[in-house]
C-alpha cells in the first residue's frame, strides 16, 4: 500500500470519528428537544394554573449528557474497553509466552514504523485479539491467553501485525469511540424503554380525561411524535448496525497491512483458520466491543456464511474470503520471492527457534 493510501485512510478515519461524535450529540439533541416540543404542544392549551412545558430542560439535559459521555468516550474509551475485558497489562514479561508476545509486538512496531503500543493479556482460553486507543501514542494491543497458546511465533506475529494495521490507519480511534458510544446509547435506550412504559400510561389517562375532540388536530404533532418514539426504540439497533458496518470493510484492509508488515500472508491465513476452528466463543469480550476483535467473539456461525444476513449482522467478513485473499497474496509472494530477497526481506521461520533472518 502506498503512502498516499495510508494518509487518506487516516484522514477518513479522523473525519468519520468527528462525524460520529457530532451525529451522536445531534441525535440526543433531537431526542431531547423533540420531546420538549411535543410536551409543549400537548400542554399548549392546558388550563391556566396547571403545568405548562415552556422551558426545554429535557433537550438541554440530554444534549449535555451526550456531550459529556462523548467526552468521556474520547478520553476514557480505551481504558473502558480494556477494563470490560478484564485485561491485565504486561509490564515486565514474566513467562516465556509473555516475553515472546512483547518481543513480537516490538518487532511489529518496528515493521509498521509506529511507537510500541502497550500490551495486555485477557485471561480467556479462546483465541482472539483486538487493538484500541485514540492515536499511535495511546494505543493498546490486547490478546487472549488462548491465542498465545494456540499460535506459533509466525502466526502470532501476523495477528499482531493485523492489529498494528488497525492502529496505524487510526481505525482504533473510530472503533473505540463507537464501542463507547454504542454502550451509552444502549444504556439510554434501556432507561427510556422503562420510562415509556410508565409515561405511556399517564398520557393515555390524561387524554382519556376529557379532550377527545382534540385528537388529530395537529398532523405535524402526530408525525413528530411517531418519529420521536421510533427514534427511541430503534436507536440501539441502528447504532449496533452502524458498529457492524464500520468494522467489516476494515478487516480486509488490516489483513492487507499485516501482509505488508510481515511479508508473510500465509501466516495470517493459518492463524485465522486456527482462530476460526477454536470451538468456543470468547466470553470475556462483551457485545459492545465485538467489532474491535480480529475474529467475531460472539459466535462464529454468521462469519462462516456468505449472503445478506451475514453481510448485515456479522461484525466481520466471512472468514473463508479473508483466508482466500491472504492465500492469493501468499501465492503471488512466492512467485516474486526473488524480488523480495532483493528488497532485503526474507521469510522468517523459527520452528526450531533458529532465526532465519
Amino acid at each position: 500500500m502506498s503512502d498516499l493510501d495510508l494518509f487518506s485512510q487516516q484522514a477518513a478515519n479522523r473525519s468519520r470519528s468527528r462525524w460520529l461524535v457530532f451525529g451522536f450529540i445531534a441525535f440526543f439533541a433531537w431526542l431531547g428537544f423533540g420531546g420538549d416540543w411535543i410536551a409543549w404542544q400537548f400542554t399548549l392549551d392546558a388550563p391556566p394554573g396547571s403545568y405548562r412545558h415552556t422551558f426545554p430542560f429535557l433537550g438541554l439535559g440530554l444534549t449535555t449528557v451526550a456531550a459529556i459521555s462523548a467526552g468521556v468516550a474520547w478520553r476514557r474509551g480505551p481504558e473502558r474497553v480494556l477494563w470490560s475485558t478484564n485485561a491485565i497489562e504486561v509490564t515486565v514479561p514474566a513467562t516465556e509466552e509473555e516475553r515472546r508476545l512483547v518481543n513480537v509486538v516490538e518487532e511489529m512496531a518496528i515493521a509498521s514504523g509506529i511507537p510500541r503500543p502497550r500490551v495486555w493479556i485477557v485471561p480467556d482460553p479462546d483465541p482472539n485479539a483486538f487493538a484500541t486507543g485514540r492515536d499511535w501514542d495511546t494505543a493498546h494491543v490486547d490478546v487472549t491467553a488462548g491465542l498465545l497458546r494456540a499460535l506459533d511465533r509466525d502466526e502470532l506475529q501476523a495477528v499482531i501485525a493485523h492489529e498494528m494495521g488497525h492502529v496505524k490507519n487510526l481505525d482504533v480511534r473510530l472503533m473505540t469511540l463507537l464501542a463507547a458510544l454504542v454502550g451509552a446509547v444502549a444504556l439510554v435506550g434501556d432507561a427510556m424503554a422503562r420510562m415509556m412504559r410508565g409515561g405511556g400510561r399517564i398520557r393515555t389517562r390524561s387524554s382519556g380525561g376529557g379532550r377527545g375532540g382534540k385528537k388529530g388536530g395537529n398532523p405535524v404533532l402526530i408525525v413528530v411524535l411517531v418519529l420521536w418514539i421510533l427514534s427511541w426504540l430503534l436507536a440501539p439497533l441502528v447504532t449496533r448496525l452502524l458498529a457492524l458496518g464500520v468494522s467489516r470493510k476494515r478487516e480486509y484492509l488490516a489483513d492487507a497491512m499485516a501482509a505488508q508488515f510481515t511479508r508473510n500472508p500465509g501466516a495470517l491465513a493459518s492463524a485465522l483458520q486456527k482462530i476460526e476452528h477454536a470451538a468456543s466463543p470468547t466470553p470475556s469480550i462483551r457485545r459492545g466491543s465485538a467489532h474491535l476483535c480480529i475474529a467475531d467473539p460472539l459466535g462464529r456461525r454468521l462469519t462462516n456464511r456468505e449472503g445478506f444476513l451475514a453481510e448485515l449482522f456479522g461484525t466481520h467478513p466471512p472468514m473463508a474470503i479473508r483466508v482466500a485473499k491472504l492465500k492469493a497474496m501468499a501465492y503471488e509472494g512466492r512467485a516474486s520471492s526473488a524480488e523480495r530477497q532483493a528488497a532485503g526481506v526474507e521469510r522468517r521461520g523459527d520452528d526450531a527457534g533458529t532465526p532465519a533472518t
Partner: protein, 185 residues
Amino acid sequence: MFLALLVLTAIALFWGVSAYNSLIALKNQVANAWKQIDVQLKRRHDLIPNLINAVKGAMNFERQTLEAVVAARNQAIQVSAGGDVSKIAASEGQLTGALHRLLAVVESYPALKATGNIAELQEELTSTENKIAFARQLYNDVATQYNTKQKQVPTVFVAGMAGATTAPLWEISDEAERAVPKVEL
C-alpha cells in the same frame, strides 16, 4: 492577463511548497528508519557476549564457530562507527551468517538447549534478528519511496533545494546470508 499570470504563479508556488515539504518529511522518515536499524544492530552486538559465555563451556571443540562470531562482531562494531551504509550492511551480513552457523550448532546439542538460559537467549536473538530484518524492511521501503519521489515530476524541481540525494538501500551482500539453508534428511 496579469491576473491569470498571478493565479498561475500562486498555484505553482503552492505546488512547490507542498512538494518540498513532502520531500523533507520523507527525508526525516528515512533518517529515522535508519536509526531504528542502528538501535537493533547495537542490541545484537550487546547480546553476543552473553550468548558466547552461555555456550562456551559446553562447546569447547566448536572453537572455530565461536571465534567466527566474535570476529564478525568486532568487525561490525568497528565498521558501524564509519556510518557507510554498504560497508555496514556487508559486515552485519557476515555477523548474521556467523550467528546462524552458531545457532545451527547449538541445535545439535540437546543438553545445551535444555538449560533455561539458552532458550531465553535464543528467543532474544530470534527477536533481535527479526527486528533487524523488519527495521531493514522499513528502511528500504521508506528509502525507496524517498528515492522515487525525488525523481518524479512535481518534486524533481525542488529536489535540489531540499538537498535530496538518493538514499542507499540496504542490500544483502554476503554470500552466506543469501545462501539457501541446506535440508538434510
